[in-house]
Each structure stands twice: as structure tokens, then as C-alpha cells.
């Protein structure tokens, strides 16, 4: 391992000390292109595109000229309806553990005109619980309003390369490393409109999902993230499934095709480099049909694989699903 020379060590120390003193005024000294609002919106956008209800796993790659990023999200959760006797409406609940990561590399221009590389890594882990009601309007159409609460822990590491160091007798470029953490409490009000119809053994499902998210963020080491924000997300989903001749343990498999669109309505394109995603895929579902705790039905587990696309974004999803 190569030890830093005294001069380099001094450079890093100086930059770090300078940043600590002036953090309240400017996220990165000498890089005013990176404003407070961009830092905030980027953090919220990452958390929302990872932890919002209705989002499934994804691995995304963005290439937008001066900006490249890799993002993934994954969740382990379950949601179900349960009957409330003597009422037409049913109850709805869900729980999920969600995780995600983002590595975002941008090339910006420093205040002195020099190129500056910003390498940002964010990791989030969240726990989400949902509770609501489901109103069957007809056999085929239901409305489902529900509330979700989620707690997220966000860790961020920013490496800024190319800042001009302010050390006596030197004008060399320096690398600054910023670490910060934030805890976010999100309350999401959602409305799902769900339509389904059978054609023989095949089933068509169409749904629209709107989520209004209020997030309160707390951070001890980054005052910029000591704030709150409103965001909203619209999702349109469709799937078509049919029977197969395959069975396992006496239970049948079904094939499925799906197409989804997620639009992060209030998200600025600068935040993550995209504001909407399209996903298309195929899958197989096994109708295991059990009733955990003798309380709610767990009908299917399945395998799905799909491609995700948008302007400048390519991605995929491959994984297990349950419902």
C-alpha cells in the first residue's frame, strides 16, 4: 500500500477542513454548479425511485454524455387484501424491506473553469408498511386507497476530483471526499385503480397507481438534507397471463407478459438523469395458493424478466415475484 506523501496529505486535510467550515453556504466549495437544491433533489429522487410503493426491482444504467450512472433497487415484501366481514370494502396491507444503490459519475465545470469529476455513491435501506382499504366497484374494477409509512437510511459518499486546492505555494488539483448520512421518514398516500377481465383461461389486468409522497429528512452531518419535500409518482401497469400444461406439486404454472410505465412526475431530470421508465417483460407464475397464519391468501410466486428503457437509460429486471 502506497502511503500518501506529506504534501498530498496536507492537500486533502486542507480541502476537508475548508469544506467543513463552509458546508452551510455551498455543498462543494469551488463548484457552485452543484447547488443546494440539486443536492437535495438528487437525494430525494434516489430515495423515491427506490422505495416508492409499487416499484419492483431494477438495474439501470444511464449514459448521458457527461453523466454516467448505475442504479439498482430490490425489495422483499408482500401485500394482500383481507376480508372485513359485513362490509363491502376489504382491508389492504403490505410490508417491504427495500434496498438500493446508485453510483453517479458526472463531469462538471469548477468555478475557475477547470473540469471537475463528481463520483457520487448512495446506498439506501428502507422499511415500508402500508395499510388501506379496497373498494370493489364491480367484479372487474376496484379502487384501493392506502397509506404507507417508510423509514429510510441513506448513506452518501461523494468524491470530487479536480477542485483547486488552496494550499500555500501550490495550485494542484485536489480530491475531496464527503461522507454524509440521512434518515428519511416518508408518508405516502396512494390510490390504485385496478381492472381485470378473464377471456377463457387468460386474464388481462390493467391498473393505474398514483402516489403522493411527503418526506421529512434528518441529517446530523449534512444540513442541506435537513429538509422536507413533496413528490408524486404515477404508474401504469398491464399484464396478460394464461395457463400452461406445467404443474409442480400438483399446482399449475401460468405464463405472463407485462408492460409497465413509471413516471416520477415531480422529479427534475437533473436529479438522476431520467424522469420516467418503461418496462416490458415475460414471466412464469406458480399458483401455490396458501393462506399464511390462516389470515390472507398468498396465491402465486413467480419468476419475471424484463427490459427497462427510457431516454438515455437502459436496464433490466430479473427476479422473484409474489402476490
Amino acid at each position: 500500500m502506497k502511503l500518501p506523501t506529506f504534501k498530498n496529505y496536507l492537500l486533502v486535510l486542507t480541502v476537508n477542513a475548508f469544506v467543513t467550515v463552509t458546508l452551510n453556504a455551498d455543498p462543494v466549495p469551488g463548484l457552485s454548479e452543484l447547488s443546494d437544491s440539486i443536492v437535495r433533489e438528487s437525494a430525494f429522487a434516489f430515495v423515491n425511485t427506490t422505495t416508492s410503493p409499487g416499484l419492483e426491482g431494477a438495474t439501470l444504467t444511464l449514459d448521458d454524455g457527461n453523466r454516467q450512472s448505475d442504479q439498482w433497487r430490490s425489495s422483499l415484501g408482500f401485500s394482500a387484501e383481507f376480508t372485513i366481514k359485513n362490509h363491502i370494502f376489504n382491508g389492504y396491507w403490505g410490508m417491504a424491506v427495500v434496498g438500493g444503490s446508485l453510483n453517479d459519475r458526472s463531469e462538471l465545470t469548477g468555478d475557475s473553469g477547470q473540469p471537475v469529476q463528481v463520483d457520487l455513491t448512495r446506498d439506501v435501506v428502507a422499511l415500508r408498511g402500508s395499510f388501506g382499504l379496497s373498494y370493489p366497484v364491480t367484479q372487474h374494477f376496484k379502487l384501493r386507497p392506502y397509506l404507507s409509512l417508510s423509514v429510510s437510511d441513506l448513506q452518501t459518499e461523494s468524491i470530487v476530483d479536480g477542485l483547486l486546492a488552496t494550499v500555500p505555494g501550490g495550485s494542484a488539483e485536489a480530491t475531496a471526499v464527503f461522507n454524509s448520512s440521512a434518515q428519511m421518514l416518508s408518508t405516502t398516500g396512494s390510490v390504485d385503480a385496478l381492472y381485470s377481465r378473464w377471456y377463457g383461461g387468460n386474464r388481462l389486468e390493467l391498473s393505474a397507481h398514483y402516489h403522493l409522497i411527503y418526506t421529512d429528512a434528518f441529517s446530523e452531518d449534512n444540513p442541506i438534507l435537513e429538509t422536507e419535500a413533496w413528490n408524486d409518482v404515477l404508474q401504469l401497469k398491464s399484464r396478460y397471463s394464461g395457463p400452461t400444461r406445467l404443474t409442480s406439486i400438483g399446482r399449475p404454472w401460468r405464463w405472463l407478459l407485462y408492460a409497465n410505465h413509471s413516471n416520477f412526475l415531480s422529479q427534475d431530470n437533473l436529479s438522476l438523469g431520467y424522469t420516467s421508465l418503461f418496462e416490458f417483460g415475460v414471466g412464469m407464475e406458480w399458483q401455490m395458493n396458501i393462506k399464511p397464519m390462516d389470515w390472507f391468501g398468498w396465491q402465486m410466486v413467480g419468476l419475471k424478466a424484463g427490459v427497462i428503457t427510457s431516454s438515455n437509460v437502459e436496464g433490466y429486471f430479473m427476479g422473484l415475484t409474489a402476490r
Partner: protein, 133 residues
């Protein structure tokens, strides 16, 4: 240590209590539980009930699935087997309600087997004098 053993015993007790097979009246009977009201048993209208002891052999039940616009009167006819538990629930299948044979697998979950659709579901406009909401 004794606290740990106590907590394990309590956990087992709680988990063991999760899934319990309904008590079947006596030999010659089966049991059905429904998430929606059973309004007719073998051609005889009854006060809405959510569970019944059924004599084994062929049974015909009418169970109502309620929505805000319509009520769906679904008729199930099947041969009930002695000491067997059945369940009717809504699972977004082709018909509003589906009949299953209910089997306890272990303390944590039960299994729904032998899927059966109703013989018919008659759709009627929602009753305006219903107490349901």
C-alpha cells in the same frame, strides 16, 4: 436462561395458535367457512352466516359477493366429504368467488386445494336498503 426458555415456549404457543383447524360438529359432517355471507343452503334461504356445518354428500349453497354497483349471487354445488373443511373466498378469479378445500399444513399456513368455480353467478343491482357499507 429460564427467561429464554419461557420466551421460546411462548413463541411456540403463539405460532401454534396461528392456524387451527375448525371444529367439525361430528362424524358425518363437513365444515365450510366463507368470507362472504351464505344466504341459501340446499334451496332454503337463511339469515346470512359465514360458517356452516354441512351434512356430507351433495350440497348447494348460494353465497353473495358484494360490490358497490352489483351483488353477485354465486351458486356452489359439490359433494361435501366427511371431516373436511371448505372455504369460499374472492381471489380475482373468473367468477367473483371460488370454493377451495382447506387443509392445515402446519402452524404457520394452510393450503387451498381443489379449486372449484361456482356453477353460476347471477348479477343483481346492489340492494339500496342494505346495512352494508
Amino acid at each position: 436462561m429460564s427467561r429464554r426458555i419461557l420466551s421460546i415456549i411462548c413463541s411456540c404457543f403463539i405460532l401454534g395458535a396461528c392456524v387451527q383447524t375448525p371444529v367439525i360438529k361430528e362424524d358425518g359432517y363437513a365444515f365450510i367457512g366463507s368470507n362472504y355471507p351464505i344466504v341459501s343452503v340446499n334451496g332454503v334461504e337463511t339469515e346470512p352466516v359465514y360458517s356452516l356445518d354441512l351434512e356430507t354428500g351433495s350440497n348447494t349453497l348460494i353465497i353473495v359477493y358484494n360490490s358497490y354497483q352489483y351483488d353477485y349471487y354465486c351458486t356452489f354445488t359439490w359433494p361435501a366429504v366427511e371431516n373436511t373443511v371448505y372455504e369460499v373466498t374472492d381471489q380475482d378469479n373468473r367468477y367473483p368467488l371460488t370454493l377451495y378445500r382447506w387443509v392445515k399444513v402446519n402452524s404457520l399456513w394452510a393450503s387451498r386445494l381443489d379449486y372449484q368455480d361456482p356453477t353460476e353467478c347471477i348479477r343483481k343491482p346492489r340492494r339500496t336498503n342494505s346495512d352494508d357499507n
